[in-house]
C-alpha cells in the first residue's frame, strides 16, 4: 500500500488593514525571544501606510505597529524581509533603498548598512535574511545573484554564489532558511528550485524543478525545514504550499484552507450587513474558467493562497505569509495518512 501524506491548516491570523491592527501586503515575519511576531508589511506604491511592522502573538493579541514609509532612518520603501537576532535586534532588508536596517523590538532605530552596488557589502536588491547559530547574518543579494554574510553589526565577512542557471548559481533568489545542521536553503526564484548550501557556500543539492506536474515548483519565494528534515516550499507562482521529504522527494501539497481569523470575526461582528451578505454567499466554488490559472482562481476564492511569500516554523507551527490576502495561514507539520 502506498503511503500518502497530508498537511492541514490549524488556523488563520490577521486582517487586511491599511493601518493599525492588520497587514497590507505582508511579506515576511519573525519571532522575538518573547514569542511575539513581527509582521513586515510591504504596503504598495499608492498607499504607503501598509509599509510598517505589526506586532502580535499566536493568540492574535495585538501589540501595536511601528516603522513607516520613507527614506529616513527606520523607514522603508520596498521592505522585503525581516529577521530577529538572538539578542532581539530586528533586521529588515529594503530592496529599493539597498540597505539593511537594524532596530530594537520597540521600533527604535539602531543603525543601517549597505548601499547600491556590486562590491563587497553593497547590494542590488537585498531580500531574504537569516542568522546561523553563530550569529552570522546571511543576506540574499538578489539581483547580484549571491549571498553575502555579515556579522551582527553589519561588517562584511564573505560571499558566495553568482548569477546564473547552473548548480550553485542563483537567478533572482528570494528567501533563505538556516537549518540546525549548518545548511542553508535558498529559494532560487528565477530557476524554480530550492538550493542547499553549506554555511561556507558549498553547493550541496537542488530540490524541485519547473514543469506542470504536482511536484514541480514555479518561482519559489521561501522554504522552511521541520525537525526531521522535510522541506516546505512556498510555491509562489503556483500559489501552493509544497512539501518534500529530506531526500527531496515530493510528499504533498496544499492550495490553502484559510478560515476567519479572530480579527476577521471582530470585523464582521461589527459590520453586520457585510456579515449577513457574506453568510449567504458561496465563496468556495469550482468553475471551469479558473482551470490552469491559479492566480485567477486565488483572486476569486478567498480561502486559497494568493502569492505566499514566507514560511516560518515556530514551536511546531508552520506560519505562511499569504501576502495578497493580507493574512497568515498556520499549518501543522506534514503527516502520514
Amino acid at each position: 500500500m502506498t503511503t500518502s501524506f497530508k498537511i492541514k491548516s490549524r488556523k488563520t491570523m490577521g486582517l487586511a488593514a491599511m493601518q493599525g491592527r492588520g497587514f497590507y501586503y505582508p511579506f515576511d515575519l519573525s519571532f522575538d525571544s518573547n514569542n511575539r511576531i513581527y509582521v513586515l508589511g510591504r504596503g504598495h506604491d499608492y498607499d504607503t501606510r501598509g509599509c510598517r511592522i505589526t506586532v502580535m502573538d499566536m493568540n492574535e493579541e495585538y501589540h501595536g505597529t511601528f516603522a513607516s514609509f520613507g527614506t529616513q532612518d527606520g523607514q522603508f520603501m520596498w521592505p522585503s524581509s525581516i529577521v530577529i537576532s538572538n539578542s532581539d535586534k530586528i533586521y529588515v532588508s529594503d530592496e529599493y533603498l539597498n540597505k539593511i536596517t537594524i532596530m530594537t523590538t520597540e521600533g527604535k532605530f539602531i543603525s543601517s548598512f549597505g548601499q547600491f552596488g556590486e562590491d563587497d557589502g553593497q547590494f542590488d536588491g537585498p531580500n531574504g535574511l537569516v542568522f546561523d547559530n553563530e550569529n552570522n547574518l546571511y543576506v540574499v543579494d538578489h539581483r547580484n545573484g549571491r549571498i553575502q554574510v555579515f556579522d551582527e553589526e553589519g561588517n562584511f565577512i564573505r560571499k558566495f554564489s553568482s548569477q546564473g542557471k547552473s548548480e550553485g548559481n542563483l537567478n533572482l533568489p528570494w528567501g533563505i532558511t538556516f537549518h540546525s545542521d549548518d545548511r542553508l536553503y535558498v529559494s532560487d526564484w528565477g530557476n524554480h528550485r530550492i538550493q542547499e548550501f553549506t554555511t561556507d557556500g558549498e553547493f550541496v543539492r537542488s530540490v524541485g524543478s519547473n514543469g506542470d506536474k504536482e511536484e514541480n515548483i514555479l518561482h519559489p519565494s521561501s522554504c522552511a525545514i521541520d525537525d526531521i528534515g522535510n522541506i516546505y516550499v512556498s510555491d509562489w507562482g503556483n500559489h501552493k504550499l509544497k512539501v518534500f521529504d529530506k531526500e527531496g522527494d515530493f510528499l504533498c501539497s496544499n492550495r490553502g484552507e484559510a478560515t476567519l481569523s479572530e480579527w476577521a470575526k471582530d470585523f464582521l461582528n461589527t459590520n453586520v450587513e457585510e456579515k449577513e451578505a457574506r453568510l449567504k454567499s458561496n465563496l468556495d466554488f469550482d468553475l471551469e474558467i479558473f482551470k490552469n490559472d491559479p492566480f485567477k482562481e486565488s483572486a476569486h476564492i478567498e480561502k486559497l493562497f494568493w502569492c505566499p511569500t514566507s514560511l516560518t516554523f515556530h514551536k511546531g507551527n508552520l506560519l505562511i505569509v499569504d501576502s495578497s490576502r493580507h493574512r497568515i495561514q498556520v499549518y501543522n507539520k506534514v503527516y502520514k495518512v
Binding site: 506604491d45 451578505a277 449567504k280 474558467i289
Partner: protein, 473 residues
C-alpha cells in the same frame, strides 16, 4: 527605402501602438507595409517583463486594492510589449465601454474587463458584446444586477443601444425597456456580498474578491418581447444578435474605429447632428463589417491598408490621449527596464493630464481630440514629455544621443541635426514654424559639432518634447 515609406510606417506605428524608434521603423519598412499590418493584427505580442516579475516587486499591480494600480500595470504592458497593439485595442474599447472604479471599488474586476477587451476585442463584435454583457464590472457599473423580472432597471439596456452599438435616434424608449427585460437574470455570483463590499469600499477581511457572471433563470423575464421590430421570447443573446444586424450598428462602430485610428470625430452625443468627417470611409467600413461577419480585426485590416488611412492628410491629425502620450514617451526613454517604484508616479501623470485609466468621468467615457487640451493639461503634457526626453540618464535617450553624435560626424549643419533628431524620435513631421523655432535654437546653442554636448542635446530634446507636433499622433 524612401523617406515617404518611413513616414508612412511611422504613421501606422503611432496609430496601432505608441510610436516606434528609427531602428524599428527601418526594420518594419524592409518587411513591407502590408506585411507589417498583417503581423500586427495576427501575431501575439511578446512582453519583455513577465507578470510574475511585476507581481513580485509590485504586488498591488496584479492584485489591486485601490484605483490606480490597474492603470500602472496596463502602462507597463504598453511599454514592455514588442507590438502594443493589444493594449491599444483595449484602450479603444475602454474608451467606448467606459467602466470606472468610482462605483465598483474593485480594481481586480476592472483589470479583468481590460483583459477581456484584449482577448475578444479583435474578434466578432457580437461575441464582444456578449462578453461585455456578462462582464461583472459592467454588470455592477450599469446596474444590471439590480434589474429583475417584473422590476427592470433599464440602465444597461439604454447604454447598450445608445453608447455601445447603435447611437441615439435608431431605437425607441420601448426598445430600451424590452432589452432590459431580456437581460434580467444576468447578474454576478454572490451579488449581495459583492455589491455590499463595493458600496462600502470594503477590503475586509482579506482584500478584494474577483467576481464572475451568473445567470439566474428564475429571475429572467421569459415572456414575449418586441425589440427593433422583431418579436419573440428574447434573452440577452437574442437582443445582441438583433443589434448586430442593424446598419446603424455597423455605422456606429465604424465611426468609432475611424475616430480612434484615423482622425478625431466630434464627441458621440453630437453624432446624430454632425456628418462623419469622411462618410465614404464609414460606408466602406460598414460594408466590411457585414461582409466579414462583424469581425473587428478584418475591419482594421481594411482600414490600415486603405487610402484614407495612408493619406498624408490624416498624419498627425489626432491629439494624443494622455495614455498615448505617456506610453509613447516611456517607450522612447526606456527608463523602466525592470519594475520600478517610479512607474507608479509616472502613471499618475495621465491622471493629471485628464485620463485616469479605469476611472472615466462617466459612462460616456472621455471626450477625445482637442478636448484633451486646456491650459492646465497642456502644461502638464509639455512638462512631462520635455522632462522625460531631456533626461540623458534614461537608457533610450542615452542611445539616441549616442546615435546623433555618431551619425553627424563631420557633416554637421543645423538642418541635418534637426532631421536626425526628429528621425530618432520616430520620424516626427513638423511644420515650417516649428522647424524655424528648432533652427533658431540650434543656431544659438549648437553652432558646431563641438557643441554637441549632452547638456545641449538634452535641452534640444526638451524643446522637441514641447512642440505641438509631439503632442499629436
Amino acid at each position: 527605402m524612401s523617406n515617404n515609406e518611413i513616414l508612412l510606417m511611422a504613421h501606422l506605428m503611432r496609430r496601432v501602438g505608441f510610436g516606434s524608434t528609427k531602428d524599428e521603423l527601418n526594420k518594419y519598412v524592409k518587411k513591407g507595409y502590408d506585411n507589417q499590418v498583417d503581423e500586427i493584427l495576427d501575431l501575439e505580442p511578446n512582453y519583455e517583463v513577465s507578470n510574475h516579475m511585476i507581481n513580485r516587486y509590485q504586488p498591488d499591480y496584479e492584485s489591486p486594492m485601490g484605483s490606480s494600480a490597474n492603470g500602472a500595470t496596463w502602462l507597463y504592458r504598453m511599454v514592455w510589449s514588442d507590438f502594443p497593439f493589444k493594449e491599444k485595442i483595449s484602450l479603444f474599447w475602454h474608451g467606448i465601454f467606459a467602466t470606472g472604479y468610482a462605483k465598483l471599488a474593485n480594481g481586480y474586476v476592472l483589470a479583468d474587463q481590460i483583459r477581456m477587451f484584449s482577448k475578444y476585442g479583435l474578434g466578432n463584435y457580437q461575441d464582444l458584446l456578449l462578453h461585455l454583457s456578462k462582464d461583472p464590472a459592467m454588470i455592477i457599473w450599469l446596474d444590471n444586477c439590480e434589474s429583475h423580472k417584473g422590476a427592470i432597471n433599464e440602465n444597461y439596456g439604454r447604454e447598450l443601444l445608445e453608447l455601445f452599438s447603435m447611437g441615439t435616434g435608431n431605437y425607441t424608449e420601448k426598445d430600451i425597456k424590452e432589452a432590459a427585460r431580456a437581460f434580467t437574470g444576468w447578474t454576478i455570483a454572490n451579488k449581495d456580498y459583492m455589491t455590499a463590499k463595493s458600496q462600502r469600499d470594503s477590503v475586509w477581511p482579506y482584500g478584494r474578491l474577483a467576481m464572475h457572471f451568473e445567470y439566474k433563470e428564475d429571475d429572467h423575464d421569459g415572456d414575449e418581447k418586441t425589440f427593433l421590430g422583431e418579436t419573440g421570447k428574447f434573452n440577452g443573446e437574442d437582443i445582441i444578435e438583433i443589434i448586430c444586424k442593424q446598419k446603424a450598428t455597423a455605422k456606429f462602430i465604424s465611426r468609432h474605429i475611424y475616430s480612434f485610428f484615423v482622425e478625431d470625430e466630434p464627441p458621440v452625443p453630437e453624432w446624430p447632428y454632425k456628418e462623419p468627417n469622411n462618410p465614404e470611409a464609414i460606408e466602406a467600413l460598414s460594408e466590411v463589417y457585414f461582409d466579414k461577419g462583424y469581425n473587428i480585426k478584418e475591419m482594421l485590416r481594411f482600414l490600415f491598408k486603405s487610402k484614407f488611412f495612408k493619406s498624408e492628410k490624416v498624419w498627425n491629425k489626432r491629439v494624443k490621449s494622455p495614455i498615448e502620450l505617456v506610453a509613447g514617451t516611456l517607450r522612447i526613454t526606456k527608463e523602466f527596464s525592470r519594475p520600478d517604484k517610479q512607474q507608479s508616479l509616472t502613471n499618475s501623470h495621465t491622471q493629471f493630464m485628464g485620463q485616469h485609466a479605469m476611472n472615466p468621468p462617466s459612462v460616456e467615457g472621455w471626450h477625445w481630440g482637442t478636448e484633451w487640451l486646456d491650459s492646465g493639461t497642456v502644461v502638464e503634457r509639455v512638462n512631462f514629455s520635455s522632462s522625460k526626453l531631456g533626461n540623458v540618464n534614461n537608457l533610450g535617450i542615452r542611445r539616441i544621443i549616442d546615435n546623433i553624435k555618431s551619425n553627424i560626424s563631420n557633416q554637421f549643419t543645423p538642418e541635418f541635426l534637426i532631421e536626425i533628431v526628429l528621425e530618432e524620435l520616430g520620424a516626427i513631421i513638423v511644420s515650417k514654424t516649428t522647424k524655424d523655432t528648432l533652427n533658431d535654437f540650434v543656431k544659438s546653442k549648437i553652432d558646431s559639432e563641438k557643441a554637441l554636448t549632452d547638456d545641449n542635446l538634452s535641452e534640444f530634446l526638451q524643446l522637441v518634447g514641447a512642440m505641438p507636433e509631439y503632442q499629436r499622433t
